[in-house]
């Protein structure tokens, strides 16, 4: 039997549990806990004059009501600004409960704790908040005009402003290069708001142990270790007295990396204060109006290029709608700015963004995290250049590609991790070749003509992207082999359904030479691993995967050393197969890892037959050496960390064929093709699953999803009735092909894959619709009604 599992299509080990209702999500815990509910602002911008709770006090089952004035010490301070940046000159965060001004519909104002959620909501409905309505600021361009201010002390509503300039090799600035270019184009591109929208919303459940003076918190989070630090700090508790556990988490997609959410510190605080278990489970409406959104940006693009379509200069100005607060800094517009250039060598590049406050839900990263917008800009630009020159769209892209021999390739900018934007590896021409072959790019014109003859309109589009993945600073892994031969793996980062239990077990099983059935994996539990960053930025496989591999290698070395002593062999002659250490070529000279684990821990007490072999009176020993040698530790365990110098850059290219109905303007995706390069594949099936989910969300962003705010700052579609996410019936079959250019930056040669699927979809679908319709598409998403209006405008322009 082989134990080489790295790279195999191993079935997901977590699925049996998750699909048979055995998963333990936040709301499955704490059945007897008190319930928290919140009174949230119904206004986009208002001053709180008074909070009158008197009517709620008679509600049977009410336990406590809290407003900002009740919060002690650090709890009353603004929430942390997690990622400061010199360009974020006017960063602002909200309070756990609103202090005097509310700045978006949904901002928490009062917390109610009661016997159950029904009673808590009854009490909420009886609390009267007296608001003085202030003028709301809605829409990023309106906000930039700064007629009204979101924060009285932030002039112009500008939270941050950043310019990055990369001169051409000849030393020209982008604007000079554009002026000097044979061809120039200028246009505007828009992307609307969407959101992570995980199936499970946020949630927190806290238990205070008065005897032990310790706190256990369960949170549906993407970072349990950081929630732990935030809770300990805000509540003034010693870190070792706080445990935070992420149970099964029903999706995150970025929104759950933000921390601490108001509820994440208020619920533990109330649990300690009341000495009762308290739980809060976010409902869907709360998730729409009280968590985070993303994507909305306006882009003004100017480009200069030569006769072959090579980009000589590119100048992009971005208006980023940040919502009411900036708890996660300016990561999103930084990623748009830097990842916009994709797989291309841009002659000279200038990118400027202004991050603007509006009285809407705050903006933090959502899967793709600014890349879908950047790729939309770059790929729409490539298509415009091709149209202007009358050239094939893939030729223009190929003319701009970084070539395989040019890695590492320095784009001359600073990436989101604060490190230089240097691509480690890739093969873009090969990727494009594979994509064109898979979709049948060269034969498409004939197919299109054939369809046209039948009165059908079809079009094809293509989009390329590069994704910085596996950002630092570090992750760790701990591996222990116990005397029953089982392997226990833990890492601090969390899981939201990606398949970590499977891929980390594959890595451990491969590194240690044990059957995968012997390996168990725990993630996101601070009792098992205290130091971690979190699950975001397509980093789990790169960061924890490599850390676990390195920890396994330590354990393996130790196991071979112990086994070598027992077998009186040279460790260099030993191999591990199927959980048994043996001399290469001599299978009879062997010892099971279970026994090696026993021998690694010299015992005083024998508690079973197996451990008798490890007691101090058991076998021969050297009387001049201590039972645990200098520099050694008892037990068969090891811990290691992986900390990369910088991110590793995955890439991919998508193509789609769409059909548009000439009468109803319905848009149908006929084919969707993905060529994907995330370096060495740990589990191709799981990578494909990640791509499928990502493309599904991308289809949502391209054709369905938008947050519709009215001029008062009310979110008009805050439910699944009107915020349209694609069903399985709206997501096409996705055809995938893999290219593997290993990363030279990490031992496993892997790159991240979590976000890839979503990134180019809007660009690809827009291009395909444009090809089918002959109408310029410059804003996404696009609905049949939008397409109908575009057709009418185009007809009108032609007749004028």
């Amino acid at each position: 039997m082989t134990t080489k599992l790295f790279g195999e299509r191993v079935q997901r080990r977590e699925d049996a549990r998750l699909i048979t209702g055995q998963g333990r999500f936040l709301d499955d815990l704490g059945a007897n806990a008190l319930a928290a509910a919140f009174v949230r602002s119904p206004h986009a911008h208002a001053r709180i004059r008074d909070v009158d709770v008197s009517a709620a006090l008679d509600v049977e089952g009410l336990v406590a009501i809290y407003t900002w004035e009740d919060l002690p010490g650090l709890l009353a301070e603004p929430l942390p600004l997690l990622i400061p940046h010199p360009a974020l000159t006017h960063g602002r965060t909200g309070h756990a409960l609103a202090r005097d001004v509310v700045r978006h519909v949904g901002e928490p104002v009062v917390m109610v704790v009661a016997a159950d959620r029904y009673v808590a909501e009854d009490a909420c409905s009886l609390i009267e908040v007296d608001y003085e309505i202030l003028k709301p600021v809605v829409g990023v361009e309106e906000a930039a005009e700064a007629v009204n201010l979101v924060h009285a002390d932030v002039p112009g509503n500008v939270g941050a402003h950043l310019v990055q300039e990369v001169p051409s090799p000849e030393g020209l600035s982008a604007r000079e290069a554009i002026e000097a270019a044979p061809h120039t184009l200028a246009f505007r591109l828009d992307i609307e708001r969407s959101a992570s929208m995980p199936l499970e919303g946020k949630g927190v459940y806290a238990r205070w142990d008065a005897d032990d003076q310790s706190l256990r918190v369960y949170s549906s989070t993407q970072t349990s270790t950081s929630v732990r630090m935030a809770v300990a700090a805000k509540l003034g508790l010693p870190l070792p007295k706080v445990e935070v556990i992420a149970p099964d988490v029903g999706g995150g997609f970025g929104v759950k990396i933000v921390h601490p959410w108001p509820e994440e510190i208020l619920v533990p605080w109330a649990a300690r204060l009341l000495d009762r278990e308290v739980k809060w489970t976010e409902d869907r409406r709360e998730h729409f109006i009280s968590s985070a959104h993303e994507r909305a940006q306006v882009h003004h693009v100017r480009v200069g290029f030569d006769d072959d379509g090579r980009v000589l200069g590119l100048d992009v100005n971005i208006l980023h709608d940040h919502g009411a607060y900036t708890p996660y800094g300016i990561i999103v517009p930084i990623i748009t700015s830097t990842q916009l250039v994709g797989p291309y060598k841009i002659g000279a590049y200038r990118v400027e963004f202004s991050s603007i406050y509006t009285n809407t839900v705050q903006v933090t990263p959502y899967r793709g995290a600014g890349r879908p917008q950047g790729v939309f800009c770059m790929e729409r630009t490539m298509d415009r250049i091709a149209a202007h020159l009358g050239r094939d769209r893939t030729e223009v892209r190929a003319a701009n590609f970084i070539q395989p021999g040019e890695f590492p390739y320095d784009q001359g900018m600073t990436f989101q991790d604060g490190r230089p934007l240097i691509y480690d590896s890739g093969d873009y021409p090969e990727s494009l070749r594979m994509l064109k072959e898979l979709i049948g790019w060269d034969s498409f014109p004939a197919m299109k003509a054939e369809a046209a003859a039948e009165g059908r309109a079809i079009g094809i589009g293509v989009g390329c992207y590069v994704e910085g993945t596996g950002v630092g600073p570090y992750e760790g892994g701990h591996v222990q082999i116990t005397s029953d031969g089982r392997v226990h793996v833990s890492t601090g980062l969390t899981s939201q359904g990606q398949g970590h239990e499977t891929v980390f077990a594959q890595i451990a099983a491969t590194e240690l030479g044990v059957p995968i059935e012997k390996v168990s994996v725990v993630t996101g539990d601070t009792r098992r691993f205290g130091y971690a960053v979190g699950t975001f930025a397509s980093r789990a496989a790169v960061m924890s995967g490599n850390a676990i591999a390195l920890a396994c290698r330590k354990v393996r070395d130790k196991a071979l050393k112990v086994a070598a002593d027992a077998l009186e062999a040279d460790p260099r002659d030993l191999e591990i197969t199927d959980g048994v250490v043996h001399v290469a070529g001599t299978p009879s000279a062997s010892i099971p890892l279970a026994t090696v684990a026993v021998l690694s821990n010299p015992l005083r007490y024998a508690f079973d037959k197996e451990t008798q072999r490890a007691t101090q009176f058991a076998g021969p020993q050297d009387d001049d050496r201590p039972p645990v040698a200098d520099g050694e530790e008892p037990g068969m365990e090891g811990k290691d960390y992986y900390s990369p110098v910088r991110s590793t850059f995955a890439s991919g290219m998508h193509a789609a064929i769409v059909e548009t109905d000439p009468l109803t303007a319905e848009i149908k995706i006929l084919r969707y093709v993905v060529v994907h390069d995330c370096g060495k594949l740990i589990n191709p099936m799981i990578v494909e699953g990640q791509i499928h989910g990502g493309v599904g969300q991308g289809v949502g962003g391209a054709l369905y999803e938008k947050m519709v705010y009215d001029e008062h700052g009310q979110l008009l579609n805050a439910s699944f009735m009107d915020f349209l996410m694609p069903y399985a019936t709206e997501v096409p079959r996705i055809e995938t092909a893999h290219l593997e250019t290993p990363s030279p930056l990490n031992p496993l040669g892997v790159k991240g894959a979590g976000e890839a699927g979503v990134i180019p979809v809007s660009a690809v679908i827009a291009a395909a619709i444009e090809d089918a319709e002959g109408i310029t598409i410059d804003r996404m998403p696009i609905s049949p009604s939008d397409l109908y209006s575009l057709r009418a405008e185009t007809r009108l322009r032609k007749t004028q």
């Binding site: 959620r117 029904y118 909501e121 009854d122 409905s125 409902d283 869907r284 409406r285 009468l663 109803t664 303007a665 319905e666 369905y704 519709v708 008009l716 579609n717 439910s719 009735m721 009107d722 349209l724 694609p726 069903y727 019936t729 709206e730 609905s783 049949p784 009604s785 109908y788 209006s789 009418a792």
Partner: protein, 299 residues
């Protein structure tokens, strides 16, 4: 998202249900499939003081069909009506429309009569009842009345069902011989409420000329908009009808509005497209049944 407090009643018989509804008056609300009511309660958009759960009244889970039409009881689920062969034989439009109602899990629970009483102008079943000129039977303590579809739909989410009354059944009349039906709609996603939708019924004469043609349009007015287009269509064979003129005749009668999913202009355009599709489909259906009848006649 938890409902306001309410008293829960689970009557054992229709009499008890009507008694409770009489006692609770405007504070009482009937719970059948709950596919619209439960979300309204949870979002606290509706807060009735009394909920009368009729799911125990299995005597209302009836579907009976005869030559005159199909009568559907208050507890007949969408899925049961969709699958009932007798109903399909007498009035095929029921199954044609029900296939477009939401998703299977919703149809397993939701009821046809509940959908009528909910009176959503975007829903399919009100349009079917309106197109066919059906009626709803409203019972109250000590009496009942039948209300014609044209009087039953009063406004968006507003029906003629009064406090103390309960819709116990609905009647969907059969169409004359040589008739056909169709339901065409465009929804943003599979199973969503339609952006626009058209139910059509067409009757042909023995020479395959249109002698009656009617449409009911959804999502383009406060109630289903029924337009009789017999005058524009007939008496002509479908192939010589000016369908654009028919579409315009309907477009003149509808009152679409802008919302977040579509502009009024698009809805108007789409309704025109769907009117043509639905009427042609219905005419084809009628022609097939006419040919079928003729074939049977010869045999």
């Amino acid at each position: 998202m938890k409902p306001s407090p309410f008293d829960y009643h689970r009557p054992a018989g229709l009499g008890e249900a009507l008694q409770t509804l009489a006692e609770t008056g405007s504070h009482g609300k009937v719970l059948a499939g709950g596919q619209s009511l439960i979300p309204l309660l949870n979002m606290r958009l509706a807060a009735p003081g009394h909920l009368v759960d009729i799911n125990g009244l299995t005597e209302l889970a009836t579907i009976s069909a005869d030559a005159s039409g199909v009568r559907v009881g208050a507890l007949a689920r969408h899925a049961a009506v969709e699958r009932a062969g007798s109903a399909r034989a007498v009035q095929p439009l029921l199954a044609q429309a029900l296939a477009l109602v939401a998703h299977p899990v919703i149809r397993n629970r939701g009821t046809v009569v509940g959908s009528l009483v909910h009176a959503d102008p975007s829903a399919e079943m009100p349009a079917v009842l309106a197109l066919l000129g059906g009626s709803v039977r409203l019972a109250r303590l000590g009496g009942e009345r039948d209300v014609h579809a044209r009087d039953f739909f009063v406004g968006p989410l507003e029906s003629a069902c009064l406090p103390g009354e309960m819709a116990v059944s609905a009647f969907f009349p059969a169409l004359p011989e040589r008739s056909g039906t169709a339901f065409c709609e465009v929804a943003r996603r599979h199973g969503d409420y339609a952006v626009a939708g058209v139910a059509a019924a067409v009757t042909l004469d023995e020479d395959f000329r249109i002698t009656a043609a009617r449409v009911a349009c959804v999502s383009v007015g406060p109630v289903p908009v029924v337009v009789d287009v017999t005058g524009v269509c007939g008496p002509r064979p479908p192939a010589s009808v000016d369908w654009d003129e028919v579409a315009r005749a309907v477009q003149d009668r509808i009152e679409p509005e802008d919302d977040i999913h579509a502009t009024a202009g698009y809805r108007r355009h789409l309704t025109g497209v769907l009117v043509t599709r639905a009427l042609r489909g219905a005419a084809q259906d009628a022609a097939q049944s006419t040919a079928h009848d003729a074939g049977e006649g010869r045999a």
